[in-house]
């Protein structure tokens, strides 16, 4: 059995290097590590769990099948997001249907009484997610890559296939729209 070093986490890029040498185990680790973020973004863009799962599966398949095209300059996750976003955009151009996912009261976890301030924060968080859903696709992707994944302007630009300046503009315009939607006084 292969020895596992529990105290050191290999970077995504180190795992990619091993995958290129034929290490299938590293491929599994990378998928499990990236899956939450990639699936969350897919779900927030497509709004339909089954479509999101399909898109994520296809994105990972393409990412590992086309590993020779990964430049190693940007984060590997940024490259996976780039593939995912292109997939979703291509499907939309071919007439893919977007189904709005409506949250029902049963979707909230049952935890007994919730303090008032936490309830207000939870409601505000739900409101902002709804406002994000209303954003045009590229603004929505930009804001999610920036806040959900912590990408800087260059990484957002790379994943969206736009310049750094264009990415920054998308983010600041998205923020302005969110503030407007949330009733800001700015």
């Amino acid at each position: 059995m292969r020895q596992v070093n529990l105290l050191r986490l290999d970077s995504d890029e180190e795992l990619v290097r091993r995958i290129r040498e034929g290490d299938r185990g590293s491929e599994r680790v990378l998928i499990l590590r990236l899956y939450p973020g990639v699936y969350t973004l897919a779900l927030r863009l497509l709004r339909q769990p089954e479509s999101a799962r399909d898109a994520v599966q296809e994105a990972f398949f393409r990412a590992f099948n086309r590993l020779a095209q990964y430049d190693g300059v940007h984060r590997f996750s940024a490259w996976v997001f780039k593939i995912l976003i292109n997939l979703i955009r291509d499907a939309a151009r071919r007439g893919g249907r977007v189904v709005t996912m409506e949250l029902k009261p049963d979707d909230w976890p049952s935890r007994g009484p919730i303090p008032v301030d936490a309830a207000i924060r939870a409601e505000s968080a739900e409101r902002v997610r709804r406002e994000v859903e209303k954003l045009p696709e590229r603004m929505r992707a930009a804001i999610l890559l920036h806040f959900q994944e912590g990408f800087n302007g260059r990484e957002v630009g790379y994943s969206l296939g736009v310049s750094h300046d264009a990415a920054r503009l998308l983010i600041s315009r998205a923020m302005a729209k969110l503030r407007q939607g949330m009733g800001s006084d700015e």
């Binding site: 185990g25 599994r28 899956y35 969350t40 994000v132 983010i171």
Partner: protein
């Protein structure tokens, strides 16, 4: 007074080093902009939490061939 857009980019770490250096110089002398930055930091903290990744089920993968 700098624009909210520019201060938003500053708070988000989205300015180039030269731009950031120049804006920091401005903030040293502008109380109004510093107040806006404080509010933008709170806004950013809220968005980071509201838009954090969902807790999702791990995908089902093929068995590890090495185990």
């Amino acid at each position: 007074m700098r624009s909210v857009d520019e201060l938003t980019l500053y708070v988000g770490g989205l300015l180039d080093p030269d731009e950031e250096r120049e804006l920091r110089g401005h903030l040293d002398g502008c109380v109004e902009c510093r107040h806006v930055v404080a509010r933008l930091l709170a806004e950013r903290d809220f968005l980071n939490r509201a838009l954090a990744r969902d807790i999702v089920e791990a995908p089902v993968l093929d068995p590890d061939p090495d185990l």
